[in-house]
């Protein structure tokens, strides 16, 4: 059995980092950073850069980050053209410097999409995602009005499938990686999570129509089935959620078209 305790080495890096103030045009700044331990995370490397800037009396680079364990979805950087960097299936905070070479030039940019305007440097405004959820990404249940939990049996495969979709951390890498700036992977994940559960049936059609409408209004692009979103999703959510979103949307529109009121059906199947 081969056992490794990853060896501690350091890297000297050249960094091209995006600098921008809100509402103004931005540009890259170049900085050299030495002695970056390979065990450090990418954000720890950014911390080191910022500490170096403070020593020089310069403003630091603002970037979003919080949990630093890959679950809150707050960190967001395009690293060498790839949202969350070169390693598939991880967030920027879980990307470690051992994946880079000594002497390498690393380009660090914010998420690039019209729906995600830059707030400062590498931090962007992702409130479009929240708006999508606010329009229908929920199951209406008032506090205290829930039935006994085991009265709603959920077959294990359905629960697992819902969980696969629900793993989405809402980071926005799907939008940033999409060459159309489309949010279909995010919206698909959210809709799938709720639409396949028995609890979600009552609002299924209404939810789907409302969330797609809000998504379109928020300025995201259209899906043209590139598949970049899946390839960059730190939770490896698949295009299946988009296919199912399409199906649910079509179903809801057809039902709406033929319904006597012209409104989304309230019932499930």
């Amino acid at each position: 059995m081969v056992e490794s305790h990853a060896k501690e080495t350091t890297l000297a890096l050249k960094l091209r980092v995006w600098r921008q103030r809100r509402g103004q045009p931005g540009a890259f700044e170049e900085h050299a950073l030495a002695a970056v331990p390979t065990s450090a995370s990418f954000l720890e490397m950014m911390d080191m850069l910022n500490e170096q800037l403070i020593k020089a009396g310069k403003d630091t680079f603002a970037f979003d980050h919080d949990c630093r364990e890959g679950i809150c979805g707050m960190c967001s950087m395009t690293i060498n053209g790839m949202p969350h960097g070169p390693i598939p299936g991880v967030t920027t905070c879980q990307l470690h410097m051992r994946n880079f070479r000594d002497g390498e030039t690393i380009t660090v940019e914010p998420w690039r999409a019209r729906a995600f305007p830059v707030l400062k440097d590498l931090a962007v405004d992702r409130s479009g995602f929240d708006k999508v959820i606010q329009s229908g990404g929920f199951i209406t249940v008032r506090t205290g009005s829930a039935p006994e939990a085991n009265n709603i049996p959920v077959p294990k495969p359905i629960a697992d499938e819902a969980m696969d979709a629900a793993e989405c951390i809402g980071c926005g890498a799907c939008v940033a990686s999409c060459k159309n700036g489309s949010a279909m992977l995010f919206v698909g994940a959210k809709i799938n999570h709720l639409n396949i559960l028995p609890q979600g049936q009552a609002e299924r059609d209404r939810r789907t129509l409302a969330m797609v409408k809000t998504m379109d209004e928020a300025g995201f692009g259209n899906c043209t089935n590139y598949g970049e979103c899946q390839a960059h999703c730190p939770k490896s959510i698949t295009l299946d959620v988009i296919a199912k979103l399409n199906r649910d949307y079509l179903r809801a529109r057809v039902k709406e078209f033929f319904s006597s009121t012209g409104k989304p059906s309230k019932g499930g199947d």
């Binding site: 395009t78 053209g81 999409a113 060459k179 489309s182 043209t224 299946d240 399409n246 199906r247 649910d248």
Partner: protein
């Protein structure tokens, strides 16, 4: 139907637009298969293809019905395609300075371009063999479609343009046909690679079927 859903029909949602692309694309993909099959009658000899052409013209109602459907499909496919392309460019806000691509295929990334070339080809093709106003040196062929086609493809540059266009059609179909399934919600992880293969195979069948004719003319197999 309520006012809101009416306006949403006229201003389709992002998914609505994709469905228009998928359904019109499906019609056009079906059409090229039919067209290609008809063309292969060239290999059965002049009487076969000429009879087929005559049969089509004798059923003008059917022919025009098909033409109307095709023309509407083409217009919708192009119109919505342009909308999607422009909207998507705008939504991207320039994209990263240093863009990387992980899995988007060449076919998927060149759909607007392959589409434009195919459109140019279609226009030329209609002028060539339907209106018979270009590249036929003013010769009149009447009902002898076989003769016209052989004469048309005897021109090397026409044939090369035709062949290139058909290869681009193959590329367009390889992404488009598989995307139809995705857009209509009929694709999943397990079936994706199979459908991608089917789409690619379909594209090649169509392209090779079409290409076989100018190639046969150029090599002297069809005279």
């Amino acid at each position: 139907m309520s006012a809101s859903s009416c306006s949403s029909c006229c201003q389709p949602s992002s998914i609505g637009k994709k469905v228009v692309m998928a359904l019109t694309g499906l019609i056009l993909a079906g059409f090229v298969l039919g067209h290609m099959s008809g063309n292969l009658l060239m290999f059965k000899g002049a009487p076969a293809i000429n009879e087929y052409a005559k049969w089509l013209h004798d059923h003008a109602g059917l022919l025009w019905a098909a033409r109307v459907v095709l023309i509407l499909s083409v217009i919708a496919h192009i119109w919505v395609g342009i909308q999607l392309t422009l909207e998507n460019r705008a939504a991207r806000a320039g994209g990263p300075a240093d863009e990387a691509t992980r899995r988007a295929t060449v076919a998927s990334r060149t759909m607007p371009y392959s589409g434009v070339v195919i459109l140019a080809f279609v226009v030329f093709h209609l002028l060539h063999y339907t209106f018979r106003t270009v590249a036929l040196d003013g010769a009149v062929y009447g009902d002898d479609v076989y003769k016209m086609v052989v004469a048309g493809f005897s021109c090397r540059s026409v044939s090369i343009f035709y062949i290139i266009s058909m290869l681009l059609l193959c590329l367009h179909l390889s992404h488009g046909v598989s995307s139809v399934f995705q857009t209509l919600g009929l694709r999943n992880e397990r079936w994706r690679s199979r459908l991608d293969f089917v789409a690619l195979a379909y594209g090649w069948i169509i392209a090779l079927g079409f290409i076989s004719i100018p190639l046969a003319v150029l090599t002297g197999c069809l005279k």
